[in-house]
Structure formats: C-alpha cells, structure tokens
Symmetry: D3
Subunit: 256 residues, 6 copies
C-alpha cells in the first residue's frame, strides 16, 4: 500500500514528508441528500477523489478527509448529517494549524460542498490574521465554469448533471441511475427562491421535492471524467503556485 | 417633523404602528473605505436612502440604521470601522427579535454592504429556526443586475461607477468628484484575486491601491437616480409580498 | 454639507482627520420606551445632540451613533429595542478599536442611556487592559447633578423632567406635550423597587405603569437648553483633557 | 456541631431542610487587598458573618460561601485573587439554580463586595427570565446609609472606617490595628477618579497608594457591632419578605 | 460495492436504513504519533476496522469515521493533528444529533483514542440531558482487559504491544516492523509521570522519547486478530443490547 | 488566630508570604449527596482538612477552598449543588492565575471530588500552555491505593468505607452513623454501569438508590486517621518536590 494520506505514515515518515512538502491538502465534504440517485457522500467522494490525485505530488501533503460539513439546509431529507458552521470552521482550522506547527504553513482546502465555503473562508481568514497558516479554500469546480457550460450547457445546481457526471466518474457503483429521472422530475429548476432579489428560500426543501436542482439525467461518465481531469490539473497548478510563494508574502499587509 | 423612524415615535404611537405594520425594515450599512472620492459611509447612506422610501408605507415599520458592519477586509485604509461577523449578526438578530416581541415578526434587512451578507443570512436563519422572525436580507442592488448592465455595462465592483452613481443621487455633496480619476487609475479591475479559481486575495488592499474596483468615472447622478428608483420599487414590492404572507408559512418545513 | 461625522468623509479625508484628532467620540443611545410623551429614541437623540457639538472640535473625531443598547428591562413596552449586554459591549469595543488602529487611541463614549453604563465600563476596561485604546464612558448628565438639583430640585429618573427638558431642547417636535401629564400620573416615584435595600424590581414595568419615573410635567425647554449647554462644555473639557494626556500614562499600572 | 450550612447536612437531612425553607441564602465575598490593616478576605468574612445569622432561621437555607469574586481592579496589590465577571456570574447562577432544582426557588445573595454587584444582577436577571429562581442580590450595607452617616459621618469607601468597624466586630484578630494609620495616610479620599463626571480611574491603584479609601482610623468595634446588628435585622426581614411572596408573582411581567 | 456506510447510500436508501436500524455507529479516531513503527492513524484505523464489522448488522447504521481528535498532548511529534476538546465534542454531538433527527436516537461511538474519551462523555451527557440521543462512548478495548492480560501480560499503553498487534491485524502494510525495537528502546515504561499520585506529565514527550509506552516488539498479528475478534463480538453485543432498550428508559431519571 | 489562609492575611502580610512561598495550595471540593450518613460537603471537608495541614508549611500558600464543583451526576439527590465543568475550570484557573501574578507560579490543587478531575486537568493544561502557572491537580487519595487495599480491602467507591473513615477522622460530628447501614443496604456495589465495557450509567441514581457505592459500615475513625496522615505526608512531599523545581523546566517542551 502506498501512503497517500498523512495518517498512513508513521511519525518518523511524516517528519520527512513535512520536510519535503510545501502545501497541506485537506479534503472537506458533506454527508447530505443528493436526491434519490446520488449518494449522500457525493461532496465528500468528489473532494476526496480530486485531492487524492496530489497524494504523490512532491509539494503536497494529504490530510485525512473531513466528512461532515455545513448542511443544515438539507436536514429535512433522510440521512443528511450536519454540524454548526462554527464547529466546522474550528475543526478545519485546528487541523490546518496542526500541520502548520510541523512546518507546512500553506494549505489548500479541497472542498466539495458549497455550503462549507463561508466557514472555510472564515477559517482561512482567521489563520491568516494570526499568521498561523495560509489556507486557500478551493472548490473542485471553481475553475470549471467554462467546461461545464461547454459540456453541459449549464452552471452548477445540486445533485444535477454536473454532480451526476462527477459521481459516475469517481463512484459509479454508488449512483442509482434508475432514479435520475425521478430526481429530475421532482427537482427544482434553480437553487434558492427569491423575491425582488431577496432570498426567501432557506432550505433545499423550500424549492425542490426530490432534493435535486438541475437536470441530473443529462450527466454522463464521460463528462465526469473530463471534469475530474480538469479539476485535477487545476489543483496541481494551485499547489504548485502556493509552493512557489514565500509564506511571508501571503500574510496580511499592514496599514496603508 | 414626520416620524419616519420608530425611534422618533413615543411608545404609545409605536403601539399603533406595530398594530398596523406587517414588516420591520432595518437598514444596515458599513463605514469603510470607498476610495478617495466616495464617503466612508457610502453603504450606510445608500441603505438608509432606499429604506427611508418605505418610511410612510403602511405595511412597513422603519428601524434605526445600523452603521458599522463586517469590514475588516478594508481595515488597512484610513477610517474603516469594523466589527466581528458574530457581533454584527447578534446585534441585528437582537433588534429584529425585539420588533418581533412587539408583534411584527416579518422583516427586511435593507443592506448596503456585501460583506454583511453572510452574517445577515446567519441571523435570518437563526431567527427562522427558532420561529422568532422571518427576516429576509436584501441588498439594494439585488434586483438591479439587468439595469446595471444596461446603464453601465458592468456588474457591481466596489466604490465603482455603480456606487458613484448612487452616491451622486443620494449624497452628492459628500462625493469628491475630482478624486474619481485617481480612484480609477489606482483601482483594481475586479474584486478579489484568484488562482485556478481559489480566492487568494483576502483584503481589498491585496488587489486595489486606491480602494476602488471598477470605473468610478463612468458613474452619473442620472444613473444613480434610476438605480434608486428601481431599488425603491423593488423594496416596496418585497415589503408587500411579505405583508401578504402568513408568518406560519414562512417557518421551516418539518422532516420530509 | 460640512462633515461632522467620520462616515461623511472619504478615506483620504479621514487620513487627515486621524492625523489631527486626538480623541474619538462615539455617541451611544437606546431605543426604549420613554413614556407616552417622549420619543423612544430619547437617549439616542440626546447623546447625538451633545456629541455633535464637538463635530468640529480639532481634537475630536466623531464616530457614527450606535442606536440600540441594553434595554431589556423596558421590553414590555411597545417599541423598545434591545440587545444583549455582551453584544453591545463587543460592538462598541470593536468600533473604538477600529479607530485606534488608524492612530486615535483615546476615546469618549458619549452615552445617553444609564442601562448601557456597565457594558461600556467593561468595554473600556477590556480595551485598556489590552492597551488598545483608552475609552472613557461618559453620560451626558454625569457632571450635571448640581445643575439638575438647582433647576429642577430632583435627580435623574426616567422620562422625567430632566429628559423632557432635554428633548424639548434637542427634538421639540418629537415631544408629545399633551401626554406629559398622563406620563406623570401613571408614572413611578423613584427608579426601582427595594426591600431592605435589596433590589427586587428588575423591569421598569415593576414600578411604573406609564413608563416614566419622576415629574415629566416639570420639564421645560429653557432648562433643557441649560442642560445641553452645560453638557456641551463638559464634553469639550473632557475631550481636551484627554487630548493632553500621553496615552502611555493611561494604560494600567503594573504590579505594586 | 449544629449544621448551619447545607453542606454540613446529609442528603436526607437536606431533604427536610428544602421542605421547610423558603429562601436560599448564599454568601459571596472577595479576596482582595483591603489595605495594610484589614484582611484580604474582609468582604468574604463580613458576608459570611451576616449570612450565618440566618443559619437557624426556619425560612432560610444557608449555602456555602463563595470566596473569590470580581476583583481585577485590585490586582496590582499582593494577594488579590480575581475571576472574570462571567465566570463569577455563572458560578453563582449555577449554585442558585441547583437549590431551585430541589424546590427552593427564592434566594438572597448576601454579598460583601461592591465589585460583584453587576455580575450578581446579571445572574439574578437571567435566573428570573428563565423562571428558574428569584435571587435578590443584597449587599450587607445596602440599608445602612443612615446608620453609617450617623455613626461615622461618611458613606462607604474601601477598607475604610466602615469596613474597619465591621472587621473589628467579626474578625478582630485579623485586623492589624497598628497599620490603620498608614492605611489612612497613603489612602485615597474618594473612590475612583473622574474628569467632568467621566470615570478615568479603573483600578484602585489609580487613586490610592495604600489600597484604602476613607478614614480607617475612625472605625471602632462598637460601631461595627451596630452595623452587624442592623444588617442582621435587615437580612432577616428580607428573608421573611421573600418567604411570604408567591414565586409566581416574582417572575417577569408579560408584554404591556 | 456494498454500502457499509451511510454516506454511500442515497437519501432514499437512507430512509429505509433509518427505518430498520436502531443504533447509529460512529467511529472516532485520532491522527497522532504512535512511535516510529505504527501509523499516525492507528486509532482511526482500529476504530474503523471494528466499526465496519457491524456495517451489515440489521440494527446498526454506520456513520462516517471522524479522523482527528483530542491529541494536543502528542503535538511535539511530527504529523500529530489535533483539535480542541470542545470542537471535537460539538462535532461528534452534531453528527449524532443529525442521525437522531432522522429517527435513530441510540448510538455507539466506537472510539479508538483514549484522549477522546472525556469529550465523548461530555457529548453523550449533553445529548442525554436534552433527550436528543443516547450515545454510549465505547473504546474498542473497553472489554478486553482480561484478554490483554492473558495474551500479552500487560494493560494498554500507547503504541505498545496491544496497538502493534491490532495494527498487524487491520493494516499490516502500514506497520514498519523494523522500527519496533527503536520504539521500545526509546519508549516509556508507563503512561504519564506522577509525584505522590499527582500527574505532572502532561504531554507524551514528558515521558517517552520514541512516542511509545510499553513493549511494542511483543505484539503479534495473531494476538491482534484475537483482539479484533473479541472487540467485534463486544460491539455486536452492545449494539444488540441498545437495540432492545426503549429509548425512554435511557433518558435521565427525575429528582429522587 | 494564626493565619492559615491567604485571605486571613492583609495585603502587606501577603506580600511577605508570596515572597517566601513556592507553591499555592488550593482546596477544591463538592457539595453533593454522600448518602444518608455522610455530609453533602464530604469532599470539601476532606480536601480542606488535608490542605490545611500545609497551612504553616514554609513552601506553601493556602488559598481559600472552592466549595461547589462538577456534580450534576448527583443532582437527583436533595442538596446536591453543581456547576458546569467549564465554569468550574475557569474559576479555578482564574484563582491560580491570580496567585501567579503575585509571583507564585506553581500550585497544587488539593481535590476531594473525582468528578472535578477532568476540569482540573483542563485548567492545568491551559495554564501550562500559556506558561502562566504549573498547577498539578492532586486528589487526596491519589497515592493511597495500597493503604486502602490493605486497611479496607477495597478501592474507592462513593460515600463508602473510605469516605466514611475519612469523615470520622475530620468531621465526626457530621456523620450520622445510624444511617450507615441503610446507606449500604440500598447502595450500589460498584461505581457506574457498563455493557461490554461501555458506560451506560451517567448519573449516580442509575446505579445506587441510597447514593452510596461500597460498604460504608466498614469504615472507622482509626482507618480515617491513617488515611489522613498518609495523605498529609503525600501532600507535603508533593509541595516540596514542586518547590524544588525550576518553573521553566515545567513548561511544555518544544517540538521534537
């Protein structure tokens, strides 16, 4: 077994890894409803799959995936697990800070769940203010707008054709393809609900019955593999960019 | 003097107002750098101006403006005042909850500062979970994408042509028009800084020297008045929509 | 328009102001019942009126008024808004600390509401311990005992002749003079309720039906103008005293 | 040994005591400098002495004394112990709430330290809001203004003639009478330091070198015994007043 | 792929699982030094291995493993990751509470790290007090004292023969057997350091240089398999016992 | 009266004591049911009795006893008082930190209640991390396993023969010997309740009707005096060991 993850190494081997690596990579996901066709762990599985591609990258040090995130807005659907944003923020920040204590003070949080983003930004901001670590939150689809538009003629929804494609690429046996149609038929057209631009839909159940938003049936393994490949390249490039930065240049600038 | 604001009324008059009104309206702003041409209170002044247009609306009850918000990312520029997101969230939530205790349990937070949005969403979510109040956060530009694109061929930046226009419409004497060019010349092209889609610019100073992002010189009072008029209509419509809702229909739905 | 308040200035103008000024001045009020004759914002309006008199003082820098304070003990009366003492303390402390970050580390909190005092003392104590800022809390009536006794033969109650006088001086059109008698007739004689010296009245409603405590009808605009003039002088003197202090002499002394 | 304190009883005996008593009595003090002549535990010893006089009162149930309180403002003097106001508030509230759980929901906190008062008020307010307990904070000198004026021609300072008298009455062997003169000579004239009514002295050391404020040499055991006797009567009367109240009448009143 | 874990199921399949199962099973581990021979994730891998044995048990519902725990006392060794006890407690409690919201209110936390125990007890106590869930914390070795004594003539240390045996059984390829001798030679004899029974060793580094405590070389795969088998039986029995309990009998008893 | 306790000294005398002493000694107890025969304050009285034996030790400085601790698990029995673990932890930590501010940075917490232990460890860990103080928590029975086994052929339960013996030695008049038999007959055999090693008994009432666990009738004053003598020697030895340590050697070690 090759040791992709830090926790698979001994402390002695970890010492070498911290010596060599420049960037800690922490996958974060969620366990929340993704409609009747995709697994609850869709976001976790996608983040993990993308993150593992840098498991052997000399600049990267792969930390264990954080499974449960900020998902209270899906709580009415069976199986959704959630934690408070503050707890999630602290848990992530503590883990990144631990790695910093061993000498790797730059990090990428490879996130698979949009609902985690604000908590990750807060964690990152706090760690940077204290000059503990520079931890860039990065959603695996952050740089895929063009590809998604081109391949699927859409933008990201939830449990939609984008996520269906990704799951077909990374965990095909967990996708219940026969349920994709139901997901779509009883799904929502767009995320959220707004009146004059004000968001008045707080929970997924306010705007989707199946839990999905988008056109899950339009997904395909082929597109999923393209998404994965592109995300993988993006992550490697991001890790390499961070590896090149002097950490002192990443701390907050002083008063103007 | 007509009493637009709750705090201008006596408790006796307030009793009547709470009887009649359906929706509390709370303006929230910020005091933060808006480049060399616009006042620090730009977001506060805009929110206040828009909110005051419903001061006499029979469905609305106007609460006092909250001046300082979540602006730490502008702290390197002179004059920026900021508070923690948690404190801002609690302050807003407490005020909305107070109004609810007197019988008005629906609210619009008329927000003038994007940096406040996440804290407002958290406040709203918490108030809704506890069935204390339904407080929709609404940025005055939330429904103006099309108008902004049409009039100014852009989308919202910071201290840009949109905000310059708005300030020329609501507080012209506080705009230092002679500084608009400097604002633009030393300003940023777009908000934030990203690598492969990961945000690596946390503070305004990371991507703008003047503090502005956009083309402030392209602003005009004429456009500002259109923005204000449109926002005003949007707010009235939002207040009226909320007024028609049964508050019990606004609470979270139970488990599926 | 002259720029009395910081938020009316641009960041560039603010830079100059922070260079020149020595003392930040932050008005804090409340929005709480003041009986049937005085506006809910009495404390806010008074604090603001007093504070604005140093708007052009070369030593002073005027921060935006904080409207809502620690008023839960008035919550049974319509229109009262309140926040937790901790939230109020943090909000004030954050704002004063922001100004300190730009170089003005001495402050006066011009307070209009007795219920805020303890939270302001805690904020001040915390800022001083950390050597962030020296923020003296000051109620506008703090130095007026003699004047109040002389003019009105009383000491401060609530919504009483002192506050009625002040409101007649600073916001006459918001006073419902016809209701002063009712305020008095159904008001309390003295603040609180005690048994053998133990306070057993926690809320205003425990000892006043109208919300007032004292003799509101005894107030007059003429007295109000004297109060305002005296308070104004006091504030200027306080600002000047602080301006002369070396901030290092204001930090806590070391162990004896 | 007679069991004055709850903790001297077994759980079985306590069951009877909770059955019979109506009012829990909790002494709270401080361990803080009281100048060179009085013991650090002056406030604790006084509160304990007064509280113990109701140890056999059928309406009262005596809880163990809380020794350390809110005394950071004396921290520069050797031997002062202090805790955060929040911690003190929670500790007291938890203890009172425990007694309430066993059926005694009315309480007097017999307090010996002015610095504790605000935290005690907050504890009391919180317990009352939740309808857990009605816990009146009461300083042993709360009702002694007239007596103190008559006997000593003064009002309460710190480690002054009032406290010296009390200590001579309750713990004479802990008073170093030979040091009273030094306490007075290097002491302060009045508590605090103010400029235009604004408090600018935060710590005792800002206005007293010896730690005392007042005229300690004017104290006497005879006066102390009068103070103790009066305070004792006051406490009994307070306990009896509370015993007669129906607890439901003590909870907060609803909205007007 | 069979779906052992909840997150591998869709929300629809999860609905069935929550219908059938009685007990949620949550594995918790740590990522902390286990000397030069065992992987950092020893506790995580052991907890996961034991927990997965009930993946198909009809009474059980397997939640995703929580990787990082309360390990600050190992922080001086490379690779150790840790979080605050409060954060860990909240994270676990939130996850268990989520499952309870879907109808499964009994849980076993299958824990692999002694340092997590107190936080797990607190989480369990809190969930029980609120009658949210009954979540018994259980360390996989909790019932193995006799077996460990019999097979290895010892009791549990750290990274010792017990853990070495377990790792050889569940993740043999991650054990660096050649380093076992060094682990032992530079390891500690017993956990902690005490003087007259007082613990004065707070961190592992205070009493072990290699990170191990015990005799790692005495471990064997054969013993590990016995440990695993016994723990597996214990867990099944525990799950079955819980499945039989009426949840109402598990809530706290009322006052005696 | 000799001044055993710090609070019995003046600040001037305390200055000398802090000069001479090396170790602060803080007794912590509980007020919680100890069955029908032993006083609620058993743990407090025992801790106090042991701690007072170093009241005159030149290395020691005796702080006032903290009466109420972490005892919610006894709350169903009359008279039990309890506080949150966090509050207890903070209260103890603040007191120890106060002593440290006056120059004595080593401490022993002489604890009489097992339920306090975890909170004391957390307090100690926090104080050590911040290099404020080294505060070893020590239960008076920590080093008495052998003696207890030899004299009573048992290990510590609750309100059992060990505690009965100790109370007969330190507060004989508070023991209701006639109730010892009932304590035993309706008591539990062992502390807690477990299924396959998992603790499923959270409160004392889950496993004892009388509140006692063990054989209270087997206790004797003679054994109690031996326990006290041994504990006393242990404490003196612990104080002396700490007195000899250079505090810098007690702080956490740096990264390996």
């Amino acid at each position: 077994m090759s040791c992709r993850y830090l926790h698979e190494r001994t402390t002695t081997a970890a010492a070498d890894a911290f010596q060599q690596a420049e960037v800690a990579v922490l996958p974060t996901g969620s366990v929340e409803q993704h409609g009747p066709a995709l697994p609850l762990g869709t976001d976790l599985l996608a983040a993990r799959a993308v993150a593992e591609t840098v498991g052997d990258h000399p600049d990267a040090l792969l930390l264990p995936p954080i499974p449960v995130g900020v998902s209270a807005h899906h709580r009415q659907f069976d199986g959704t697990l959630w934690t408070d944003p503050e707890t999630f923020e602290s848990y992530v920040a503590d883990i990144v800070a631990s790695a910093a204590e061993h000498g790797v003070r730059k990090a990428v949080v490879v996130n698979g769940h949009g609902g985690n983003s604000e908590a990750l930004r807060r964690a990152a901001r706090g760690l940077r203010e204290e000059e503990v670590a520079f931890a860039a939150p990065w959603n695996w689809w952050s740089n895929l707008d063009a590809l998604i538009a081109e391949e699927l003629d859409t933008s990201l929804g939830h449990a939609d054709e984008v996520e269906t494609s990704m799951m077909l690429a990374v965990a095909e046996d967990l996708v219940r393809e026969s349920a994709l149609e139901a997901a779509e038929d009883e799904g929502g057209d767009s995320w959220g609900k707004s009146i004059q631009g004000a968001s008045v839909g707080f929970d997924a159940i306010d705007f989707t019955e199946s839990g999905a938003v988008g056109e899950p049936t339009a997904g395909s393994k082929e597109v999923g593999e393209k998404l994965l490949a592109h995300a993988t390249d993006d992550l490697a490039a991001l890790v390499e960019w961070l590896a090149e930065q002097d950490v002192d240049d990443l701390w907050p600038r002083g008063h103007k």
